[in-house]
Amino acid sequence: MQTLTNRAKQVDRRPMTFMEKLYLPAILKGMGITLSHIFKKKATVNYPEEKRPFSPVFRGLHILNRDEEGRERCTACGLCAVACPAEAITMEAAERLPGEEHLYREEKYAARYEINMLRCIFCGFCEEACPKQAIYMSETFAPANYQRKGFIYGKEDLLIPDPKHPITVKK
């Protein structure tokens, strides 16, 4: 029969030799391998205390960015939502009123912006599609939650805090 790979090994069905029947040398050999691993570098880290560094290209939890003056960059153009293969992003746009210029960068902004993290596959297409450098993927992942409704991320979850107007957390 034609083998798929050249790594296939024929099973050895010969009766065991005397040395093999003793078992003890094989056990000792195995213990030796185990012992040697104690002195080797560990493959794991003690996770909550110790964290591995993320790669600079890691695609993690989304953030909505602000510009230098603390105004929201997103104009609700919908390109992230149309690029999203999982259809996780939805939004509703509104027009900026006179007097809201310090809040929103453009005349149109996202009044509602939601990412369904249950749907998101973290492909990064939204970040790539954004013409306003408004959405970025950060170097952290979406935290676990007990309920599904905790995974619908609104603007309050995504928007980075305004450096000029620090928010007070009440919850």
Binding site: T75, V82, A94, E95, A111, N116, P131, I152, E156
Partner: protein
């Protein structure tokens, strides 16, 4: 019957077509169809006298006619040049034409703000398509672009002069469709701007059609302003009994909400029949319309994104294997999601939505 008219034989990109004398090269190319049709930003077959402004439709006439076979010395605007018997025209086969068109696009975009993420026309904009196909990716223009203030002309139309490419289509529309000219071009040269003299409001039943004829986002529908992007809405053909117009329109819907009503446009972006302002601005309820079915959208258009056609839905088996019990719904998205809430009916708001149209929540501003 009168004697048969002599037809002119024209060769466009080596494709021969026979057309009546007096036809323009552009219309002869449209008779062939497909890729040989030159793009047009200002020419509009339903508007008399349109064309000749934007120069996008430039073609090379390699042979003037059977009688005078000399080529025309310069590239000609195909929307204004009539055919001659035996004429030979090169459009996509001529690198000179392609190069000239690239230059034209650069000129059209000189003063264009490129605010497509904000503009409501994005996705169905002729200039966007044109520059995507023929333009270069960067501009060489280093000077300040001309800017104008946004004007509300009438209650329903928003004029954003900064985006205008001065195609004069709206002027011809106002001239020919309405009985009083209320819309024109003020000033000259780079300072020329479309306007209504001294902010005169446009109270005419058909003035809304200037929105449809506008190839860019200079004239947009205020009732649909910023409501939704065209590619998130589902266009459906609909009609209603209207005493002013044909009543045949396209509704741009999300669920049962009608966000926008436009006339039906053909593949050249020209409306099939003009519609009146009552149909366009006032009938924003699905109950006003008889819906015929989804509108056919080119597969290559961004509007067709996310439109799942011909989907075969798999048979629901869970109820069968669970003795008739339906699966437990673990989360109703509408109980959490703030988008598309029944309390906020965006399509019913007269103008664009503002921050006070959305109920306050615990979100940061």
């Amino acid at each position: 019957m009168a004697e048969e008219k002599k037809l002119f034989k024209v060769k466009i990109d080596n494709i021969t077509v026979e057309v009546e004398p007096g036809t323009t090269i552009l219309n002869a190319a449209r008779k062939i169809g497909g890729e040989v049709v030159p793009p047009a930003m200002c020419y509009y077959s339903k508007l008399q006298g349109s064309g000749g402004k934007c120069r996008t439709c430039l073609v090379k006439v390699t042979k003037g006619s059977e009688a005078d076979p000399r080529p025309m010395p310069k590239l000609v605007a195909s929307c204004r040049t009539t055919v001659m018997d035996g004429m030979e025209v090169a459009n996509i086969t001529s690198p000179e034409v392609q190069d000239a068109r690239k230059g034209i696009v650069e000129f059209l975009l000189l003063n264009h703000p490129l605010d497509c993420p904000v503009c409501d026309q994005a996705g169905e904009c002729d200039l966007q398509d044109l520059s995507y196909e023929h333009g270069v990716s960067a501009t060489r223009y280093e000077f300040k672009r001309r800017t104008f203030d946004k004007i509300d002309i009438g209650d329903h139309i928003k004029l954003h002069m900064t985006r205008c490419i001065l195609c004069y289509r709206c002027v011809f529309t106002a001239d020919q469709l309405t009985n009083k000219r209320e819309h024109g071009v003020l000033n000259r040269g780079e300072a020329s701007e479309i306007g209504t003299y001294i902010q005169q409001s446009l109270d005419n039943d058909f003035i809304g059609n200037v929105i449809d004829v506008c190839p860019v986002g200079a004239l947009t529908d205020r009732t649909a302003r910023f409501k939704n992007r065209v590619w998130f809405l589902k266009p459906v053909d609909a009609h209603r009994n209207c005493d002013k117009c044909c009543g045949k329109t396209v509704l741009w819907m999300r669920g049962d909400e009608v966000f926008r009503v436009t006339a039906r446009k053909d593949k050249y972006g020209e409306v099939e029949e003009f519609i009146c302002d009552t149909c366009r601005f006032d009938k924003k309820s699905a109950a006003d319309w008889v819906i015929e079915g989804p509108r056919a959208i080119s597969r290559h258009s961004v509007i067709s994104q996310g439109h799942y056609v011909g989907v075969h839905k798999p048979h629901e088996t869970i109820a069968k294997v669970m003795d008739g019990r339906s699966p437990k719904l673990l989360m109703d998205i509408h109980s959490i999601s703030e988008v598309n809430q029944p309390a906020v009916d965006l399509s019913k708001i007269d103008g664009p939505a503002h921050s006070n149209d959305f109920p306050k929540n615990n979100s940061v501003q």
